[in-house]
């Protein structure tokens, strides 16, 4: 994943409706290839646009696989460990597998692995943590939105368009 830093521009937005409109606009334009949109929180409006942009999130597949692995490994663990050394407790002879009790382990491991896989999916699909990533602008985690476009200068056509769409500021950056 070695990636060169590409200088580009950052356009800062303050308003949700502006950034939404911007996203809608630039998403269709080829000269905005490689742009990245930044937000300080997950407004529904933006998430809806993201769904159009990236498609439905693949995290669900991670969750599903994790959960299925969990439930299978839970049952398998119990069954195999009971098979490995059957010990008679409470009048249950060797060879009786207490499936109702194993449900607990299947369930718990399903949740556990499902949750961990979800996190993994989020990391993988969200492309983070990325050791080379840098913070473009500290305001982005406060109350601002931004669009980052690599390989262009603040004087470019694209910068101008962003300004028109409501960007309060457009400046060049060394890249992310």
């Amino acid at each position: 994943m070695a990636r060169e830093k590409v200088p580009g521009i950052v356009a800062i937005f303050s308003y949700l409706d502006d950034i939404c409109k911007t996203v809608e606009t630039i998403d269709k334009r080829r000269d905005f290839d490689g742009h990245e949109v930044y937000s300080h929180t997950s407004y529904h409006e933006l998430i809806h646009l993201a769904e159009d942009k990236y498609g439905s999130s693949e995290v669900k597949w991670f969750t599903l696989v994790g959960a299925l692995t969990g439930v299978c490994s839970g049952f398998a663990m119990c069954l195999w460990m009971d098979y490995d050394w059957p010990i008679v407790v409470g009048g249950k002879t060797a060879g009786i597998y207490s499936l109702p009790a194993y449900v607990v382990f299947g369930f718990e491991l399903m949740i556990l692995l499902g949750a961990l896989a979800t996190i993994l999916g989020m990391f993988v699909m969200g492309r983070f943590p990325n050791p080379k990533d840098t913070v473009l602008d500290p305001r982005l985690s406060d109350d601002k939105f931004a669009v980052y476009l690599p390989g262009v200068s603040p004087d470019s056509e694209q910068a101008k368009l962003l300004k028109d769409l409501g960007a309060e500021e457009v400046y060049s950056t060394t890249g992310r």
């Binding site: 010990i87 008679v88 407790v89 409470g90 009048g91 249950k92 002879t93 060797a94 009786i96």
Partner: protein
Amino acid sequence: MSKQEVDELAKLAEKPEVFAPSGSFEAPVRDVKPGEYYAYAEERLPGITEVEGSVEADLPVSPQEKLATQGFSLDRRDVLRLFGASAVASSAGCIQRPEEHIVSYIRKPRDQVPGVATHYASTCDGCASSCGIVVKTKGGRPVKIEGHDEHPVSQGALCGVGQAGLQALYHPERLKGPRVRVGERLDETTWDDVFERIAKTLGSKAKIGILTGAPSGHALEFYKEVLSNMGQGEDQLYTWEPNGLFTSIAKAHEFAFGELDLPRVELSSAQLVVGISSDFLDVGTAPVFHGKGFSRGHAYALGKRGRFVAFESNYTLTGAKADERHVINPGAEVLVTLLLVRSLMEEPGSRGSVAQRKQIADILELQKSVLDEAYAKVGIEKTVFDELAHSLLQMPSVILAGGSSVFDHNATQLQLAAIFANILIGSYGATLMFEDGWMPCPVVPGDLKRLLSNAEDLDALIVVDTNPIFSAPPSWEVRKVLERIPFVVSIQNFPNEMDDVAEFVLPNNHYLESWGDAQPVAGFWSMRQPVVRSTTNSRQAEDILLWVLAYMEKSLPYKDYRAYLRKRWQKIYDMSGTKVSYDHFLQAVTRRGFVGRLQTRTVAELSNVRDHFRGLPEPLTELSLISPLDSRLHDGRYAHLPVLQEAGDPITTITWDTWAGFNPHTMEARGIRQGQVVKVKSSVGEIEVTAFAVPGVHKNLVVVPRGNGHQDHRSTISYKNGVNPLPLFLRAEDRYSGQPVTSNQKIEVVVTEKRYRLAALQKTSDIGERSDIIKKHSLATLKRNFNKKRDLDHVPDLFPKLEEGEYKWGMSIDLDRCTGCGACMIACSVENNVPQVGREQILLGRTMHWIRLDRYFHGDLNNPKATFQPVMCQHCNHAPCEAVCPVYATTHDEEGMNAMTYNRCVGTRYCANACPYKVRRFNWWTHKWGEMGKRQMDRNPRAVNPDVTVRTRGVMEKCSLCVGRIRDAKHVAKAEGRKVKDRDVRTACQQTCPADAIEFGNVKDPTSRISSLRTHYRAYTMLNGDPDHHHYGLKTLPSVNYLAEVTLKEAPGKKETGSGH
């Protein structure tokens, strides 16, 4: 008799009666092959052959040699001990591999195989009844005392005191060596010094006396011989036994028949027993022998059951077992007995010769007016006596009167009256053996009185293992009198109050370290041999005397007491008529432990005892005190043994303490509350003691047991436990035997504001109408269902049955037999290294007993019926505890046992919660001597049974059905290529039970006793509902079953409350 009955008889039949009056008693010595020790392991392992004289080798040849070996040098026994304790861990807290060592034998004794137990036969010295014991030793250390199966007194059983013998042996507070008085101090000294100085002093004394306890066997003669060698008269020998029953019975028989002996009571052949303030099951004269006989003669078998009627004012363990119990005024025993005699005289068919009847009639006539009024005074109607008299004549029966709990100045008179009654029902020769196999009286009546009056003249007194300063009422001023004697030597097994007045305090050997013998029954001799060399620097009392004599240059011709016995036993050898040589005879007897041929004699018919009935006692109508001997601590001589302190009184379950037992109604009337401290005052003293309601005690009675109340620091165990009630007693004695009176003392009770918590093991005693815990059947029901069998192990079940192995261990406990004596608890504690925790922990509820002896009262508070139920792990086949352990620390094995793996346990205690029987015990601490409070005495590390893991803190434990014994038996069986047979394995509790209430064995073996008991109609399992009505309760399927108690009368309609899920 049907075939079934025959079968059952065959299975249930006990060993043949050794003392059966009809059969002759054969001396067993001819059956013993010379050259075999009494060691079962060796009998089963012919590969191990013994070598002659391995026991002899312990005792040195000459006194000089003996002295030499007392110094520190490693010899065989030490090596054995080191070997046994070879598992010495390296420094604690280190998780490195501990370095352990094996110490090799220099020359291996041929009766020792490392890891294999060696058994020695010996004789118990716990009380005067001299039970035969087998001592199991491992690596030279005694690890368990058990009743000798063939010994006719113990018959395989042993009481709690006998079981606790090991703790006395290993007690860390035994004197480590001889002491000499220097002013107030007792300084350590050497034996040489002791002998020299004692010899010198005694040489200058004109009059020397010896005071002993109840000496057994030849010891009495030995002391007399010692005295005469010192130039003293034989009357300078004094004995003192606080249990007055011996003296009163013997004295009465001396009056009546001219012989100072006790009759042997064959309770096994008595179908009807009448006890008049008798405590033959708790203390009596021979509790194990009587317990065995009583359970055989009384408990249910083959549709029959004996009857026991008790008249008593205190609520004794014996009375608790009675089918009918009448509460009488204190002091009314003589009247009750005479009223019974009167009814017997009136009853056609009563026995007795003309002269005897004449004399009895005269006495009754003389006291006619008193007796006429007596019915009202004792509060029992004449019809009761008439019915009893009628029944007594219908079947073999016996009347037993008196006990340690009632000892007033009419004790001998009471015994005389009982003799009349027994003559009239024809007990003598049938159930009371006075002409063949009588019991010799171990003490001389009135000796204490004689000592006190002669003490002025005594210049020196040697005291051997007795302690009248503590065990006689202080009003007798024993201490004062003994202090006046210029020179007192006290030879005691355990330091006691006698040391205060002694110039020399010498540690006596424990009986497991001593030679000795006993004659429990006339003509019948029991051998005592040392099983271990002295564990401290102590000597046997008899040897000390021999040494003193040697230093006085008045030696007896014996190098030690064993040589003396060897000489004395010549007579027994001659009597036995055996053809083997004397040496072989002695060896065989030592191995077997006993020898004998019942002696017979003819006694006078009945002397004139009319004079003894000139005056009759009045029943007391005011509040009065009785102080019975504690069945565990006796007069207090065993107060330093924690296992006995912790076992608790069977009736009150109070441990480590003294209490004042009141009738609950009396407490209510006087405004006394449970646990309130009361002042009990008499004209000579006053004590403060905690009140405790004991239902069934007469309203005019306060019961304060003896045993505790040691006020000195000699033992941290007995120090300041409870109080001694004896200071309350006026100096009074039995009119005829001269024994101090310890009952019927008039007292006042003053309530104080103080409170004190008594550490009772059981907090709730009432189970109301519940039948899921204790079941009872009437005799009629049992007869109706005689052929009905139960199948406790087959109930409707979703799961397949456990895989069938060869064995399935089960235990059956007969509630009809159980007398509640608690020997099982103590045996279990000793066998399984169960720690004693002390009063404070018991107050918190942290008792560690693997067997809980539950005691339930039913019915009227003034006269309740008691049922005892030993509850140990029930080894459920559907165990609620097993499934809940997260780490598999408790699991089921293929033989139906619930296995507890201590080293896997992490201590979640979930199993104990899940157990509906609450039989699991948790190690809240690591129980060690001297840690976490003084009272938590436990193991001298050497006193630990090496076959059972010692548990540390944080680990659950419980009854294992003595799985170690099962493994041992299996190893033996495996080596012989066979299966384990019935009775190969006996659990510690089963083995020691004097009532034979516990049976253990392989349920899958259809010929085993257990499988017949488990299918008996009386069999039931606790909390498992009522299978008759397809109701299975908790359905835990325990391997331990109970056999229902049997009532003579039809029980009133019972309500079924046992239910489950």
